[in-house]
C-alpha cells in the first residue's frame, strides 16, 4: 500500500469527525440546526467514504502486503542515543502512528458506516431536543475516540482512545442531565470503565518494562507491531515476555482482559450496561451495541499474540465470556424494558464473541462482531422508533398491537430478531454457526463450554421473540400504543438499510461446503489473526449446526406458544421455579451484592471521613496555618510606619550589618 496515500486517507478518516466535533464544541450550540444536521452525519459519512477507499486500495494488494503502519508525528521521544532505534538506553518513544490492516479496516468500516447511519437516524430522533448540537458534538467525539482506539499503532494512543471512548460514553449516557437516574447511570458506567482502564494501563506498563528483544535486551517499546513481533510463538529463546504460560505473560493477559471486560460489559464488570440505557436510543445503538462494547473483543483479537502465549489467561477469557453469555441470556427473559432486553442480549452476544476470541477463533469472534453490529444497531433503532412513537415509554407491557401502525418498524425489528436468534439465511445464523463450530473444535478439550454456548441460543430467541409478540401483536394496552404512528423517513431509512444488511452480510462467511478451505471473511482477516488451527470433522460440524438451529427454533417456538398463541401459561416458571424467576428478574442480584460489598462501605468511609477526620484533623490543620499567617502578618505590619526615615534607618542598619559580616568572613 502506498504510504503517502494511506497517510492522507487516515488523516481524512480521523480528521473529519474531529473537525466537526471541534467546530460544534467551540460554537457551543450557537450553530444553526440546519448546519449541524448536515455537519454531524456528513463528517462521519465522509470518514466512511475515505475508509472505503482505504479498503479498495488494500484489496488491490496481495494478502501478505495488507498491513501498513504510517506515522503522523513523533509525539514524545525520550530515548537516548542513536536514531536508528539501537541505543543502549531505550526510553519511552511514542509516535502518533496508525496501523491500517484488515482488522483495523473492519472496525473502521463498522464505526464509520453503522455510525454514520445512526447519525442520520439521530437527526430525526433528536429533532425536538434542545441539546441537539451538544448531542452531535459528543457523537462525533465518540467516533473520533473509537477510531483512535482501533487505528492506533501505539500502546499510548490505544490507551488514550480507550479512555476518550469511556468519557464520550459517560457524557452521552448522562446526556439528559436533568434526570438524576441518567446522571447516576453515567457515573456508574464511568467508574466501571476506570477499573478496566487501570487493568489496561498496568498491562501496558508490564509489557513496556518486561518485553525483551531477540538478543535478550529489554526493548522498552510501545509500538504494537514491535511488541507482537517479539511476543509471537517461538520468536526466540530469550525474548518476548518470558516462557509460554509464564507468570508474566499470564498476568499481562489477565490485566488486558480486565480492561476488555469493563468495556465489553463482561462479568464481573457488567452492571453498567443495562443502566446505560438511560441515554438516548441512538447512543445505545452506536455505543452500547455496535462499537464501544465490542472494543474488548477487538482488544483480545489485537493482542492475540499475547493470549496465544498465555493459555491460562485465554481460558479465563473464554470461561468468563461463556458465563456472561448464559447469565445475561437468563436475565433477558424476564425484563420488561424493551431497551434493557436488548441490552442484555448485547451482553450475551458479546459474551459469545469473548468466548470465541478466548478459545482462539479470532475470525469467528470478529465476524460475530460484524454481524452483531448490524443487527443490534437495527434492533435498537427499531426500538427507538417504538419508543419515539410512544412518547418515551419503554415498557413492553404498555405496548401491543404496534404491528398495525408501524408496519416497516415491525418488519425491521423482526428481521433483527431473526438475525439475533440465528435463524438460517439471516446474518446471525452464519456468525453463530461458525463461532460455535470453532468453539467446539478449539475449546479447551471439553465440549461443555460449547454446550452452554449453544443452549444460550434457546434463551436468545425466546427473549427477543417475547418482545416481538408482546410489543407488536395482540391488542394495544395503552392510549399511546393505540395512537402510535410510523417514524419519519429520516429515521426509517437507516433502519431499513440496516435490515437489508442484517439479511445479507452473513453470506460473506459462507463456506462452500468444503469448496474453499477458508471463507471470504476468514481470508480477509488471515493476515492479522491467521486461520484457526483446528477444524471439527464435517459430521460433528454438521450436527453442531443442526443443534444450534433446532435450539433457536425451540426458543422461538416457546416464545410463540407463551406470548403468541398463549397455549402455555406465562406463570409457569414464576410459579414452579420462583427462585429461578426471581434470580433472573433481579439480575442475579449483582447490583445488590455490589451495593452491600462496595458502595455502602465506600459511602460509610466517606461519611466517616467527613464527620470525624475532616473537622478534627484537616480543618484544624488548615485553619491553624491560616491563623498563624494572619498573626505573623499582623506582627510584621508594625514595621510599616510610613515614615521614610524609618525605612532608610532599617536599610542602613542592615547594610552596615552586611558589610560587617562580610568583613568578618574575609579575615
Amino acid at each position: 500500500m502506498n504510504p503517502q496515500l494511506t497517510l492522507v486517507l487516515s488523516a481524512v478518516v480521523l480528521g473529519l469527525p474531529t473537525a466537526s466535533f471541534a467546530v460544534n464544541a467551540v460554537t457551543a450550540g450557537r450553530l444553526p440546526r440546519r448546519v449541524v444536521t448536515y455537519l454531524g452525519p456528513g463528517s462521519v459519512l465522509g470518514s466512511f467514504v475515505a475508509t472505503l477507499v482505504l479498503l479498495a486500495t488494500m484489496l488491490a494488494q496481495s494478502p501478505s502486503h495488507r498491513g501498513i503502519t504510517v506515522t503522523f508525528w513523533d509525539w514524545l521521544n525520550a530515548s537516548i542515543g542513536g536514531g536508528s532505534g539501537v541505543s543502549a538506553h531505550a526510553g519511552l518513544s511514542a509516535a502518533f502512528s496508525v496501523r491500517i490492516d484488515p482488522l483495523a479496516i473492519l472496525m473502521m468500516l463498522v464505526i464509520t458506516g453503522i455510525g454514520g447511519l445512526i447519525h442520520v437516524y439521530s437527526v430525526g430522533y433528536m429533532a425536538e431536543d434542545p441539546g441537539f448540537n451538544r448531542f452531535f458534538a459528543l457523537m462525533n467525539l465518540f467516533i473520533t475516540s473509537m477510531l483512535v482506539l482501533v487505528m492506533s499503532n501505539s500502546l499510548v494512543f490505544l490507551i488514550i482512545g480507550w479512555a476518550m471512548v469511556a468519557f464520550a460514553s459517560y457524557a452521552l449516557i448522562a446526556f439528559w442531565y436533568q434526570r438524576p437516574s441518567a446522571v447516576v447511570a453515567g457515573r456508574k458506567a464511568f467508574i466501571t470503565q476506570v477499573i478496566g482502564d487501570v487493568g489496561l494501563v498496568l498491562a501496558a506498563f508490564l509489557i513496556f518494562l518486561n518485553l525483551r528483544g531477540p538478543s535478550g535486551r529489554l526493548l522498552h517499546t510501545v509500538d504494537l507491531q514491535t511488541i507482537f513481533a517479539n511476543v509471537g510463538p517461538g520468536a526466540h529463546f530469550h525474548g518476548g515476555l518470558g516462557p509460554v504460560g509464564g507468570g508474566m505473560v499470564t498476568a499481562i493477559g489477565i490485566l488486558l482482559f480486565l480492561g476488555a471486560a469493563a468495556k465489553s460489559a463482561q462479568w464481573p464488570l457488567h452492571t453498567w450496561l443495562p443502566d446505560a440505557m438511560e441515554g438516548p436510543t441512538p447512543v445505545s445503538a452506536l455505543i452500547h451495541a455496535a462499537t464501544m462494547v465490542t472494543a474488548g473483543v477487538y482488544l483480545v483479537a489485537r493482542f492475540h499474540p499475547v493470549f496465544q502465549q498465555a493459555p491460562v489467561a485465554a481460558g479465563v477469557v473464554a470461561v468468563v465470556g461463556i458465563g456472561t453469555a448464559l447469565m445475561a441470556g437468563i436475565i433477558g427473559c424476564t425484563q420488561y424494558d424493551i431497551k434493557r432486553v436488548i441490552a442484555y442480549s448485547t451482553m450475551s452476544q458479546i459474551g459469545l464473541m469473548i468466548f470465541a476470541v478466548g478459545v482462539g477463533a479470532y475470525s469467528a469472534g470478529m465476524f460475530q462482531f460484524f454481524t452483531h453490529a448490524c443487527f443490534k444497531a437495527l434492533l435498537f433503532l427499531a426500538a427507538g422508533n417504538v419508543i419515539h412513537a410512544l412518547h418515551d415509554d419503554q415498557d413492553i407491557r404498555v405496548m401491543g398491537g404496534l404491528r398495525r401502525h408501524m408496519r416497516w418498524t415491525f418488519l425491521a425489528f423482526t428481521t433483527g430478531s431473526l438475525a439475533l436468534a440465528g435463524i438460517p439465511i439471516f446474518a446471525g445464523f452464519f456468525s453463530k454457526e461458525e463461532l460455535l463450530g470453532q468453539g467446539l473444535a478449539l475449546g479447551p478439550a471439553v465440549p461443555w463450554l460449547w454446550v452452554i454456548g449453544v443452549s444460550v441460543n434457546v434463551l436468545t430467541s425466546f427473549y427477543i421473540f417475547r418482545v416481538v409478540w408482546v410489543a407488536f401483536t395482540g391488542d394495544p394496552r395503552s392510549e399511546n400504543a393505540e395512537h402510535a404512528h410510523e417514524a419519519p423517513a429520516v429515521m426509517l431509512l437507516p433502519v431499513l438499510v440496516l435490515a437489508g444488511l442484517s439479511t445479507v452480510v452473513g453470506f460473506l462467511n459462507i463456506d462452500f461446503a468444503g469448496f474453499a478451505p477458508v471463507t471470504l471473511f476468514q481470508a480477509f482477516l488471515q493476515p492479522v489473526v491467521g486461520v484457526p488451527g483446528a477444524h471439527a470433522s464435517a459430521l460433528v460440524d454438521g450436527l453442531a449446526l443442526l443443534a444450534g438451529v433446532l435450539l433457536s427454533l425451540l426458543g422461538l417456538g416457546v416464545a410463540w406458544a407463551v406470548y403468541g398463541k398463549q397455549v402455555l401459561s406465562r406463570e409457569l416458571i414464576p410459579q414452579r421455579l420462583p427462585w429461578l424467576y426471581q434470580l433472573s428478574f433481579r439480575k442475579f442480584y449483582w447490583d445488590e451484592v455490589y451495593d452491600v460489598a462496595l458502595v455502602t462501605p465506600a459511602l460509610a468511609l466517606a461519611t466517616g471521613v467527613r464527620r470525624v477526620l475532616e473537622p478534627g484533623v484537616f480543618d484544624s490543620a488548615v485553619g491553624g496555618v491560616r491563623d498563624a499567617v494572619a498573626q505573623l502578618s499582623a506582627d510584621l505590619r508594625t514595621f510599616q510606619t510610613g515614615f521614610l526615615k524609618d525605612y532608610a534607618l532599617w536599610f542602613f542598619f542592615f547594610a552596615v550589618l552586611g558589610v560587617v559580616l562580610m568583613g568578618l568572613r574575609l579575615t
Partner: protein, 101 residues
C-alpha cells in the same frame, strides 16, 4: 603616590557617612536628595581610586555608569518632589506618611 590612597579612601568614607547621616536626619526632601548624590559620588571616588590602584579600567567605567544612573534618578526624584509641592503640601518628609495606611 601610593601613600595618597588611604587619603582618598578616607575622604570617600567621610563623604558617604555625611551623606548617610543627612538622609537620616534631614526633613527637607531636596536636602535628602543632595545627600544621596553625595553618597553616590563618594562611591564614585572609591571606584576610581581602586581602579587607579589596580591599573584596570573597570572601576572607571563603572563610575561613569553610576553618574548616568544618578542623572536619571535626579530626573525622577525632582519630578516627584515637584509633584508633591504642586499638590499643595509642605515639603516635609515626616508629614508624607500615607504609605502606612
Amino acid at each position: 603616590m601610593s601613600g595618597l590612597f588611604p587619603g582618598f579612601l578616607i575622604l570617600s568614607a567621610a563623604m558617604f557617612a555625611i551623606g548617610a547621616a543627612g538622609v537620616l536626619v534631614r526633613r527637607n526632601p531636596i536636602v535628602v536628595f543632595m545627600c544621596i548624590e553625595l553618597m553616590l559620588n563618594s562611591a564614585n571616588l572609591a571606584l576610581v581610586t581602586y581602579a587607579r590602584y589596580t591599573h584596570t579600567m573597570a572601576g572607571q567605567v563603572f563610575a561613569l555608569i553610576v553618574i548616568a544612573v544618578a542623572a536619571s534618578e535626579v530626573v525622577v526624584g525632582l519630578a516627584l518632589i515637584t509633584g508633591v509641592y504642586r499638590s499643595g503640601r509642605r515639603l516635609d518628609l515626616d508629614e508624607l506618611s500615607e504609605m502606612s495606611e
